[in-house]
Every structure is written in C-alpha cells, then in structure tokens.
Amino acid sequence: MRNGILALGAILAGTLAFSAHADAASEHTVKVYNTYCVQCHGVKRNGSGINVPALSVKPRDHTDAKGMGDLPDTEIFSAIKEGGLAVNKSALMPAWGEVLSDADITDLVRYLREVCKCGPSK
C-alpha cells in the first residue's frame, strides 16, 4: 500500500514537472526570438521581417501550421543550429550554433510549436 502511494506520488510529480515544462515559453526564449529571428521572420512570426525585401527567398512562416507541422523537431533544431543548408534549404538562414546554446535552441523549437499551434510530424 505504502509503495502504491509512493508510486502514485511519483507519477503525479512527474506529470506536474511535465506540465511545467510544456508551459508557455519563457520570457527569455521569446526575447531570443525577438532579438535574432524577428529580423527576417517578422514581428508577427509570419515570415515578413524587416529584411524581407532584400531576401531572394521568403523566410519560413512560423504561424503556418501545415508547413511547420510537416517538420520534425530535429530538422528545426538543425536548421537553427547549423543553418538552412544543413537541411537543404536556403543559405540565407544562417547557423546560430555559435551564438545560441543547445538549450536555447531546444527552447526555441518548443516555442515554435506554440507559435504554429502544431505538433511535429511523426
């Protein structure tokens, strides 16, 4: 019985921890997006940033549930860390791996799922 309660407690604690993890992106992650990504992906996150007139390829619309939903998390992570070329996309998406930590990038991937309101492709 005691073990049962402990196990239940552990499951509950795990669920709570998961919920906290899945909560809205931290202020820091939003600030990271607003510092680095907004210049091309735009204030509305829809690929309409201030630099777009100078780009030969339109940046990805992060609010596009279909387009974003087709991408696995690992591909988004690679695109941010290693740049567009690493995922057979445009060189105009730079590699941010020298600027952002892996933890920052993981948080950004999670934040992008909030923005697109879509899950990763399976």
Binding site: H28, K31, V32, N34, T35, Y36, V38, Q39, C40, G42, V43, K44, S48, G49, I50, N51, V52, P53, A54, L55, G83, A91, L92, P94, A95, W96, E98, V99
Partner: protein, 229 residues
C-alpha cells in the same frame, strides 16, 4: 604706454579665448555629449538583457573601430547609419506589407561643433582596449573584389541584413555603403570572424567563415565608399 598695455591685455585675452575654443577637452565632450547613450567603458555584465537596454552602440573600443577623419566629419553632420534604428528590434512594427520601421521612434544624433568633434574624435581614438580586434587579421593581399561582392550579396548572405553598394540590402544591420571610410579593416575582419567576441549577444550570426571569406569580404567592404586601403 597705457595703450600698449591695453592692447597687450586684449591680445592675451584673445589668446586665452582662442585656446579655449580650439582646445575643447575630449574627455569632457564624451562625458557631456556621448555617455548618456554610449558605453565608454566595458560593461560589467554583457548580457542579452543589456542588449535590450542599450540606447546606442558601445564606444569603449572606438579607437580600434573607426577612422578618425570619418568621425570628425560625421560628428558635425551625422547621417543615419542604421536604417532601422538601434537596436533594430525596438523600432520595427508590423504592417500589412510586412514589418517596417516606426519612423517616430528614430531620433537624430546630436551634432557637434568642429572643435568638439575634433576633440571627441581624438578622445574616441584613444579608446583601444586589448583583445577586441585581431590586429593584422586583414592582410590586404589584392583580394578578389568580384568574389568579395559575390560572397557579400549571395554566398554569405551579408546583404540580407546590411545595405552595401548603392544602399541595396537589408535593414537590421548597419549600412555598409560607406564602410571603407568609416571602419578600420582589421575591425571589419574581426567582426566578420566573431561578432559576439566584440559585441556579445549581437544579432549578427557568427558564420563559420573561412579565412579566404574574411579576406574577400573585408577587401570588398573596405572599398565601399570609394576608399582604398
């Protein structure tokens, strides 16, 4: 006799006045005119939050960044270097046609008198902390300008954020249209190599550029504005 004394006194007075006008104290000018917005000493903590609080670019390494002649001229007749203000992300607003710059948020840079500009330029050029730029990084070995332009516009994507030749290019970074007049070659090369080493957390990506890229790009940027170095 009295007249001679008076003339001498007047002459001495004018000399004193003349000296005051010509010899504006650079440190005083920096303190009174620049320090409210620009950091003149290294920040205690170079965090992302600081980037958001900053009103203007850091100047504590101005002596390894700028060309003195450009500073003297620009401080007397400043023009906009950063099309989207500084930092860009505080001045952009969404519109139906995509993001644009909120012109109401852009302020004009103060204009200095000739003597203050000269004194300020001298004081700024004395700000040369070690370890900010890599001296001698730009080798100036007849870089291939055509390849430099191709790297700037296409291969390395610099023009996505920076205006280059004829003012063509993106707006989140400073315009480089006259960068050859404004910036020292080793600063340009060092910034391309590791932007965050000079300006922590800055929004320019640190691409893994080769030395060949650094030489070509710097060679190309240095001649923008008509200056050959």
């Amino acid at each position: 006799m009295m007249r001679i004394v008076l003339t001498s006194l007047l002459g001495a007075g004018m000399l004193v006045l003349g000296h005051a006008a010509a010899g504006a104290d650079g440190a005083d000018v920096l303190k009174s005119q620049c320090s409210a917005c620009h950091a003149l000493t290294p920040p205690a903590e170079a965090t992302l939050d600081r980037l958001w609080e900053r009103k203007a670019p850091d100047l504590y390494y101005a002596g390894v960044k700028f060309n003195r002649d450009w500073l003297v001229g620009w401080l007397q007749a400043p023009t906009r270097i950063r099309p989207a203000g500084y930092p860009y992300f505080k001045d952009v607003v969404p519109t139906d046609k995509g993001d644009d710059v909120d012109a109401a948020k852009l302020g004009d840079h103060p204009r200095l008198s000739a003597s203050d500009a000269g004194a300020a330029a001298d004081a700024l050029m004395a700000l040369k902390p070690d370890g900010v730029v890599e001296a001698g990084l730009y080798k100036n070995e007849a870089p291939n300008l055509r390849m430099g332009e191709m790297a700037f516009v296409k291969l390395r994507g610099c023009s996505a954020c920076h205006a280059g030749k004829n003012g063509e290019g993106g707006r989140s970074g400073p315009a480089l249209t006259d960068a050859g007049k404004r910036l020292q070659p080793d600063f340009i090369a060092s910034y391309i190599k590791q932007p965050q080493k000079i300006d922590p957390h800055v929004w320019m990506p640190a691409s893994k550029v080769t030395d060949q890229d650094i030489q070509r790009l710097t060679g190309y940027i240095v001649q923008l504005g008509g200056e050959k170095k």
